[in-house]
Subunit: 120 residues, 4 copies
DNA sequence: GTGGTCTAGACCACC
DNA sequence: GTGGTCTAGACCACA
């Protein structure tokens, strides 16, 4: 897996895990890979995965059974969606609008770019 | 001036300088404040301003006359705009589209949000 | 290590690093010393080494893995050679020819000096 | 006049003055422009020209009559040539040979470059 | 542990 | 006066 330098790796791994859950590859109440396993898979220090799991547990997307492993929470999917939507509408979108304003970019341009993006 | 903790101060100062240039408050071929002056103005260490100027010189937005000071480059405005647009269309926008896709958000929603944003 | 006062230390360290790479003492994709280590080795402030690494990363000679360290880029050797040759043929040599012309020095004289230099 | 950023302006002005003398445009025992005049001509601070004249006086290339101005020394030409040749053979040339060695550049390459330079 | 940023203060060459 | 470099020491996020 390749990482973007502008975002902490542990958050990128969180996205990766959420993606797995949303696609139902890791299903509700099921066990997810151990910190060591996932670390080996993604070629990343286990500590970093640990941080991801910590974060996801805080958001109630996964939970821990001591000595056994981490599991997908029942409410995982809805929490992921809520988390993402909140982030999107309260941070990402306003920032976008600000730069659009600053650069004089219209919604029309965004629209045509979006259509090009969809075809890709 | 207040600084956002999520972005290096020297880059926020760069934005500040670019803004001045775009608004024509600091005009083409004109001298801009010395690192010491601007540092005092913004309550920031001169070294930090130095780093900003270094960066902006690399982007060919300002240039230096030795022992005299820094000046706005002839091509400053176009370089600023180019820099910002490149960043916007090749990074910010694709990331936006990706999350839109992932969250199932349509362009219609964006549009209504944008109108709300404009009224604010 | 001793430093020449006529050239910034951070650039002399850059030369030092490039030399290591060219001699294959620090090999492609391998990790190079941390800013703290090299700083201690060369009896130089870590910030100064940091500046060197910054510069070399800009020239795509080394690259960074966050939280882990700096590594020799795959294309390091060719980039070093290209950098040096460009500098030599487009700046150093023309300046030499200009002064040769001004002083009426012939290529023959250069040649004999060069042979003397090689024997030294 | 345009200045190279890698060399102090006052030394570049010194080169300019020496060139005038060597070409006999400013002849032996003749008066040369005042600090203010030359400064205006070259669009440079008079202080900087002053520093040039100071330096050239130290090298016995020009001399000063108080209240009147600066004049070309009788021994100017020979001192210029001596100064330049010394600089060339004891500094410039050894540095050249070093980089040639480091980059594996042969005298043959230099020769062909030189011929190309002469035709230009 | 790593790099990245920032401050405070110093010294220097140059204009 | 200007920028440029360097040091010492601090704090932070990240791995």
């Amino acid at each position: 897996m390749e990482f973007d330098n502008n975002k902490p790796i542990y958050l990128q791994i969180a996205d990766f895990v959420c993606d797995k859950i949303l696609r139902n590859e890791w299903s509700a109440a099921g066990r997810i890979p151990s910190v060591r396993e996932l670390g080996a898979d993604l070629q990343v220090n286990p500590n970093t995965v640990m941080r991801t799991y910590d974060y996801l547990q805080g958001e109630e997307i996964i939970f821990n059974k001591r000595g056994i492993g981490y599991f997908v929470a029942e409410t995982a999917v809805q929490n992921i969606v809520k988390l993402n939507r909140t982030e999107f509408f309260s941070h990402q979108l306003p920032m976008l609008f600000n730069t659009m304003n600053a650069l004089g970019i219209t919604l029309e341009e965004i629209k045509s770019q979006y259509e090009a993006f969809l075809k890709k």
